[in-house]
């Protein structure tokens, strides 16, 4: 395994339009098992790792590679790196970083992305706007096995270990398409942080109609509160048919 990391200057806070760097100045980790003999950056890494917590980024990429998940460390200012088409992206961010700006950047850079894994360092889980790509959270304190299994699961399209497993199993057993279009719509709006009344206004229905949609979502998903349903939705995309 080759690791070429520059003894680089201080990393700027995350901003998609950050200063341009030398194209050679990015760290590349070539995977041992899946890309034998590929010099430099693997042409089709499964996972791209980027973010502004450099040490964690390198550790995570190295751990995944050691576990036969081809991962590549990406410099967001490097067009060559951005030309890669990974299946999943792991974003590792500091507390101060704007989540939305970073996620916007990822969505813009890799439009067809199938998985986005988000790790925020030493911060409480922030609220996320709803996204076109499914977002799985990884805790920075998680054990190594948990990281590997969550990433592997996400790449296979399964929900990972977050949120807790039992709930996930419950959801995973059920078909995903059994929520109606309207129910999915309501869930989507709530997941973006709107209130029930705001959702009602947006959908041009009565608040009680929204409430009844939510009641059927809760019973279908098998959770007792709307908050749980929304959290599940945010992490596993229940509403994706």
């Amino acid at each position: 395994m080759a690791l070429m990391a520059p003894a680089g200057p201080t990393r700027e806070p995350y901003s998609p339009s950050g200063p341009q760097r030398d194209p050679q100045q990015f760290a590349t980790i070539t995977a041992r098992s899946h890309h034998p003999g590929t010099p430099g950056a693997p042409s089709a890494p499964l996972v791209a790792v980027l973010g502004d917590v450099r040490l964690m980024c390198e550790c995570v990429a190295l751990i995944l590679c050691a576990d036969s998940i081809p991962a590549v460390l990406i410099d967001r200012n490097d067009s060559e790196c951005l030309a890669l088409r990974p299946e999943g992206v792991i974003l590792i961010l500091r507390v101060e970083t704007s989540l939305d700006a970073a996620l916007d950047f990822v969505e813009r850079s890799w439009p067809g992305l199938s998985q986005l894994l988000l790790m925020t360092c030493s911060s409480p889980p922030a609220r996320l706007r709803s996204r076109s790509v499914p977002v799985t959270r990884i805790e920075v304190q998680c054990p190594v096995d948990n990281l590997v299994s969550t990433v592997a699961a996400a790449l296979e399209g399964r929900p990972g270990d977050w949120p807790p497993r039992d709930r996930q199993h419950y959801v995973a057993k059920r078909p995903q398409a059994w929520l109606t279009a309207r129910e999915r719509e309501v869930l989507e709006i709530l997941a973006s942080g709107s209130s029930i009344v705001a959702a009602a206004t947006q959908l041009e229905v009565a608040p009680n109609t929204v409430r009844s949609h939510l009641a059927s979502v809760r019973s279908k998903v098998g959770v007792s509160t709307t908050l749980e349903a929304v959290c599940l939705h945010r992490n596993t995309r229940l509403s994706r048919a």
Partner: protein, 227 residues
């Protein structure tokens, strides 16, 4: 990984995040001359492991309970190992405390890579300091500020009579006034009076505060028990 027997550099990894420990371990495995002799995620375990494994360098992380990690750092440094701190918050005053605790190197979670970390390990093992450039000037400033605080503390301490200094030292040991009295062969009343004067002169409001003041500024350590 190099065998423990022929490795020239023994490394202890003590950090609350297991991902970071594992990443560093994997990276170090590529180095022939460095061997990981221990790994742990809590400050208490770190002290114990350092005592048992006698590492050349200990990489120590500062979690939320950074005070306990700093205590561990100073114990590890006192045992003869070099301490390399992984800092996250770019907090210069914590950095200054780490230096006082005996740390000789820092790597930044945000801007240092693993290769930098390995270089830092080698550097501190060689007896040199390793501080990220962005950290040098805030760190120096924080140390100077601390020095000023210490000077102020010293001038207050200098107001104490030699007997009062003795009493303060005993307070720091955790003795109450009857015990202090019997140790100094005076009446408990006298001991209490001494303590009252100490409080006045140090400008603190309680014994506990006086003890904290003495410990924070390492007054007893620096000036000994004046007799």
């Amino acid at each position: 990984m190099a065998l423990l027997t022929d490795a020239s550099l023994r490394l202890l990894i003590a950090h609350p995040l297991s991902l970071l420990r594992q990443g560093l371990r994997l990276r170090v495995a590529e180095e022939q001359d460095i061997a990981v002799v221990g790994e742990c995620g809590s400050p208490g375990k770190a002290i114990e492991l350092a005592r048992v494994t006698e590492p050349d360098v200990a990489v120590v992380g500062l979690g939320d309970d950074w005070r306990r990690w700093l205590d561990a750092s100073s114990a590890i440094a006192a045992g003869g190992s070099k301490v390399l701190i992984v800092e996250e918050q770019q907090n210069a005053s914590i950095g200054a405390l780490a230096v006082k605790a005996g740390a000789t190197g820092f790597i930044s979670m945000n801007s240092s890579g693993l290769t930098t970390a390995v270089t830092a390990v080698r550097t501190v093992a060689g007896g040199e300091a390793w501080v990220p450039r962005s950290m040098v000037s805030p760190l120096l400033r924080a140390l100077i500020e601390d020095g000023r605080d210490d000077d102020a503390a010293t001038s207050r301490f200098s107001r104490l009579s030699s007997r009062e200094r003795q009493v303060l030292a005993l307070l720091v040991e955790g003795l109450d006034s009857p015990r202090i009295a019997s140790r100094l062969f005076v009446s408990p009343h006298t001991a209490r009076t001494h303590i009252q004067r100490i409080r006045e002169k140090l400008e603190v409001h309680s014994r506990l505060e006086a003890v904290a003041f003495a410990l924070d500024h390492r007054l007893i350590e620096r000036f000994g028990q004046a007799v």
